[in-house]
Symmetry: C2
Subunit: 326 residues, 2 copies
């Protein structure tokens, strides 16, 4: 890309209008300036996708790469009980990517951003040997309403939204089943265009006490994080883990493992006092959100256990880990 | 790095104490939560350094890589008239980097962060073929006091802080003069550990009207950005461009070109009404900050010109451009 192409490209990816125009200035300057609102706290997070590690041209279209990178961040904001406002993009581009493909990556981000009224307000464009896409998201939540993973207490109901393992199933199809790739579109879509659970996160932020994580590294890993941060033990019941029919149909013998350790489902997992559980279920039903009780919290020191027909086994952090795959 | 090594590493790079502890929660959770202050606006920016493009093992020690990545961002905050508060780091690590070197990168960031009381509050760690370091900084500035590049007006004095071209000179030494590498330590330090001009930026934010950029892409490019954003013309005088004695001594024949297009000096360049120029000079003298008048603003349509013994020539965007070098 020549210099003039770069300027054209950067101009091209700039949004025509902003959802939060009255609160943002300085886009295209050295930095962006965003207004603050009384009664709120800001939420900030970053998530990075690397070619060859988190995606390949075989598993993800450029549009989906952008979509998913932003989705992973919005999911983190949802897991804090907040809603997203802005994002910044740092993209490292390798020669193999055409200008059209790069635009498609930004189109993917914009498509999801439009759904949640999130504005692109800045970024940095560099070149390198591998495509690296870092997305920084800024959101907000009412002061004191943030949902931390350290809030679980003895007696809580442990819940998870939606179904888990689908993203790993979708990836398996994309990696190993070229011919069958049209048979389980919902699984592939889970992998390529995950849906952040902002509505549920907002609903949960209205309750008095909730512990919460999003399922980015796999259910086992997320439960362990909650148990450790809260210094409690968690016991879940194998039979209750929500696994989709699609995943069962695709590879029943792998479904449970994917559910526990696959990751990138971006569902919400957490705990809530037993007394609030019925109310939460009702609200979810009204909103059309699937939520399932999968276990309970007991006093302990930060461990998680799985109960099945074979007895009880301790869960280990086996979720997706980039150092391990590098 | 094994999984347990990764957890140990992430624990290791977490700060022991926070400068803004009372305003931050949720570090280590899905996202970080930061408080907002009435009367302020937040400043957000991102800057990325890629191995083989922005640095090599020959030009930068790991400590310096971290130092400079954070410095570039703090410089952007300074160019908005604000001060930095927090940073998040997304690092993509290739196999060639040892755990010790990675720690040194974070030590470099921490060293500069400590000077400006900036807290590391989150990040993402991934693996890839090339080292990519993205730093995301959040700062703040009093409401309405932000300094934009679009504020230049006819009659303004154009100024620049410090000296320019030293970073490019330092890079030249590092690339081509192994034997002579101890002869001009100040130039190499300019390249490896640039100093963001936060104090000057804060000083400028107290004036009624200032246009401002930091010199990241080279003086010519920054002046053009101000001229374009403000829809004015800028005329600078070659004889007044501040070039250090060290740079003159190192390569006099290259010094001026580096000053105009070298970039990464992280000095501040901008314009201020003639009536405020004397006051600014006095304040800078008191604070021990070098500042030089290099030109004037006239009515126009966004062009910049250089006056020298040879006449007047128009400046073009010749600063560092990553697409061009990729």
């Amino acid at each position: 890309m020549s210099i003039s192409d770069e300027f054209a490209f950067i101009k091209d990816i700039q949004p025509e209008r902003l959802f939060h125009a009255q609160k943002v200035v300085g886009i295209g300057d050295d930095a962006a300036i965003i207004g603050v609102e009384e009664g709120f706290e800001k939420i900030v997070c970053v998530d990075t996708m690397v070619e060859g590690v988190h995606f390949t041209r075989g598993t993800m279209k450029p549009f989906d790469i952008g979509y998913k990178a932003l989705a992973a961040n919005i999911s983190d904001v949802a897991a804090m009980g907040g809603y997203p406002l802005y994002y910044l993009v740092s993209i490292t581009i390798s020669k193999e990517w055409s200008q059209e493909e790069l635009r498609a990556i930004y189109d993917g981000m914009r498509s999801l951003g439009d759904q949640y009224e999130v504005d692109l307000i800045g970024g940095d464009t560099t070149s390198g040997k591998t495509m690296v896409l870092s997305v920084f998201v800024i959101g907000q939540v009412e002061k004191g309403k943030r949902l931390l993973r350290s809030r679980a207490k003895e007696g809580d109901v442990v819940f998870v939204s939606g179904t888990v393992g689908d993203s790993a199933g979708g990836l398996d199809i994309l990696l190993h089943n070229e011919g069958a790739s049209t048979e389980h579109p919902s699984l592939m879509e889970y992998h390529q265009r995950p849906k952040p659970q902002v509505t549920l996160g907002r609903m949960l932020s209205k309750f008095e006490r909730v512990s919460l994580n999003d399922v980015s590294d796999g259910l086992a890993s997320e439960l362990l994080e909650i148990a450790e941060a809260s210094q409690v033990d968690i016991l879940i019941n194998k039979e209750t883990i929500p696994i989709s029919e699609d995943l069962q149909n695709y590879r029943a013998e792998k479904a449970f493992q994917w559910a526990m350790t696959g990751g990138e489902d971006f569902e919400l997992v957490g705990s809530i006092p037993e007394t609030d559980w019925v109310k939460l279920q009702e609200e979810c039903q009204t909103a059309g959100i699937k939520i399932t009780k999968i276990g309970t919290v007991s006093s302990g020191e930060g461990r998680a256990f799985l109960k099945s027909h074979d007895g009880v086994q301790e869960l280990k952090k086996e979720g997706y880990n980039h150092f391990n795959r590098g």
